[in-house]
């Protein structure tokens, strides 16, 4: 008799299943919609179900270009986040000064919490042709550098948007790598750099990949910053889907585009998971001594 009074464990999964069910119903509706047609000149949507929308979406060169470009830009942004964010996360995890750590944490969290639209317009003010950066450049006697309504503005603002996701995730992982291991390495004759490369870096790989995956996934779904700082000339996948709805009013086509992009994006995130499995520590997890 295994615990006659114990509640059946399967029932505990019910709330989670309900939530998941709700999500999948939304996705289901969405995918069903993508198989129908918009009736031209009206707001109504009609059958019969077909894959015509997918054919049309995949057939358009612009769609293919923007999709590839979005995947590539997200990868570049993840790369920039690694370069900028790793030192920041490392500093946060290793600094003996509580003030330094709290200051970085505060800046990141404020960035996290401040609204996207506010931040996008702030960037327009800072990076604009008569903005802070360019007036400084002009004062120094150089020619004005266009920083908004182009790719540069998109990259700067998105890096700022993505950095907290990356840094906070990696910080959590770096904290679990004992600083004492670096001391041990230095005690054994390794320079500061070598002890980092030989000990801390390899031990932080799982955290690095987790942070990169999250950053990449969030970057793929960027909408606001490319819309506001890209000047309409640098659409990402989400912007294209939005245009499909707003300009063409073709909801089924937009749904097909979104579904297709979702599948491709999942595939790319899946690649990260594969890398993570390959880089997964082959060594057994450390256990507490005692």
């Amino acid at each position: 008799m295994t615990g006659a009074r114990q509640p059946d464990g399967r029932w505990l999964a019910l709330p989670a299943l309900l939530v998941l069910g709700l999500f999948f119903t939304a996705f289901g509706t969405f995918i069903a919609l993508s198989l129908l047609h918009a009736v031209p000149g009206t707001a109504s949507i009609a059958g019969p179900a077909s894959l015509d929308n997918y054919r049309a979406v995949a057939g358009l060169a612009l769609n293919r270009e923007v999709t590839l470009d979005t995947l590539w830009l997200a990868l570049q942004l993840t790369g920039i986040c690694i370069l900028v964010g790793y030192p920041l996360a490392y500093l946060m995890a290793r600094t003996p000064s509580r003030t330094v750590r709290n200051l970085i944490l505060f800046v990141l969290v404020v960035t996290f919490l401040s609204g996207g639209v506010t931040r996008a317009y702030s960037w327009l003010i800072i990076l604009g042709n008569t903005g802070l950066v360019n007036s400084l450049i002009k004062k120094l006697g150089f020619a004005m550098v266009p920083l908004v309504h182009n790719r540069t503005g998109v990259v700067i603002s998105l890096t700022h948007f993505l950095l907290p996701f990356f840094v906070l995730t990696l910080f959590g992982a770096l904290k679990t790598v004992p600083a004492m291991l670096e001391e041990a390495a230095r005690n054994l004759g390794a320079s500061r750099l070598r002890s980092f490369l030989a000990v801390t870096l390899p031990l932080s790989v799982p955290g690095l990949i987790a942070a990169s995956t999250l950053t990449y996934a969030v970057a793929l779904s960027s909408f606001l910053f490319p819309a506001l700082l890209g000047g309409g000339r640098n659409p990402m996948a989400a912007n294209l889907i939005y245009m499909k709805i707003l300009d063409a009013f073709d909801i089924p086509a937009a749904a097909a585009m979104a579904t297709l992009f979702l599948v491709i994006a999942l595939g790319c995130v899946g690649l990260f998971a594969l890398v993570e499995r390959l880089a997964q520590p082959r060594f057994p997890l450390a256990r507490r001594h005692g």
């Binding site: 004492m180 001391e183 230095r186 054994l188 004759g189 060594f283 001594h289 005692g290």
Partner: protein, 373 residues
Amino acid sequence: MRDDHALKDGPGRLADTSRALSIAGLTKRYGSHRAVDDVSFAVPAGSLLTLLGPSGCGKTTILRAIAGFVAPDAGRIEVGGVDITALPPERRQTAMLFQSYALFPHMTVAQNVAFGLKMRRLGRAEIAAKVVAALALVRLDELAGRYPAELSGGQQQRAALARALVTEPQLLLLDEPFGALDQNLREAMQVELRKLQQRLGITTILVTHDQQEALILSDLIAVMNAGRIEQLAPPIEVYDHPATRFVAGFMGAANLLTGRLTGRHADGFDVAVGGGMLRLPGTPPAGDAIALAVRPEAIGLDAAPAETADADGFVGRISFVTNLGSRLLYEIELADGLRLAVEEQRQDKTRVRAVGERVRLRLDPHHCTVLRG
């Protein structure tokens, strides 16, 4: 005798002065707090000195300063007459055994041991030979391919020790190395480490708060309190003749008595204490109040005849008895209310005294230590 020639045939091993440590005027402040306050000491080559004291006494800060992880505010650290105070950790020939071993979890035992040799850019074959010898030295040859998490606590410690010793350091630094081991293993490892240290003749600094451990392992003990050394002496000296009240208390279970100086003689002085009178050798410290430490095992017990008056001194009643098997611990309350601990060896025929029995204490003046400061 195990094969440890590979560790021994480095140039100029054993008891040469290039491995002596000397520290002068070492000071480290954190804010206004002096963690280490003008500490000086010297350790002869091949000796093991223990920095013994409660947590926060500065012992770990000194060890970390020797390793180069703490930059002192003042003072010099010399190894073999060479000033290493300004060198970064990786350029010092010190090997530290960390409290939780700090083995690299992503490397096997052999890779861990090889790490320091790789950093010194030794040849592949030489590294392999030294790793094998070092693992044999700590009896871990069988487990070279295991990862640290697959080892027991004692094995992890031996791996960390092999990693430290394989680089043939000038100094071995041990930071509470036995704290994470259980009691039986700890004692075995302490003896093993001491034998190894003596065999290799490596100058060693041990940090611990465990006086037992200090007694087992040390050539010299520096008892520390509040950033300063209270006494630096061989273990027996520290144990038998603690210099200060703090040392007497920290070295464990000594009876601390306060008496009054009543007279001086050519060969000693008289102290009134515990209702009796003691004639002690030597010269008294300044002041009338004399602090004494007496070890429980240095006090003898006699049955007090019925006619002895309490006023005759050193007469009291047994107020508690603890039987530890090989030893008996008596708590004795003297007439003036003072309580003393007395320890007797116990054998099969030894009579255990009962609570309430009147006894007379025999205090040997040579085992009474006068505390200064």
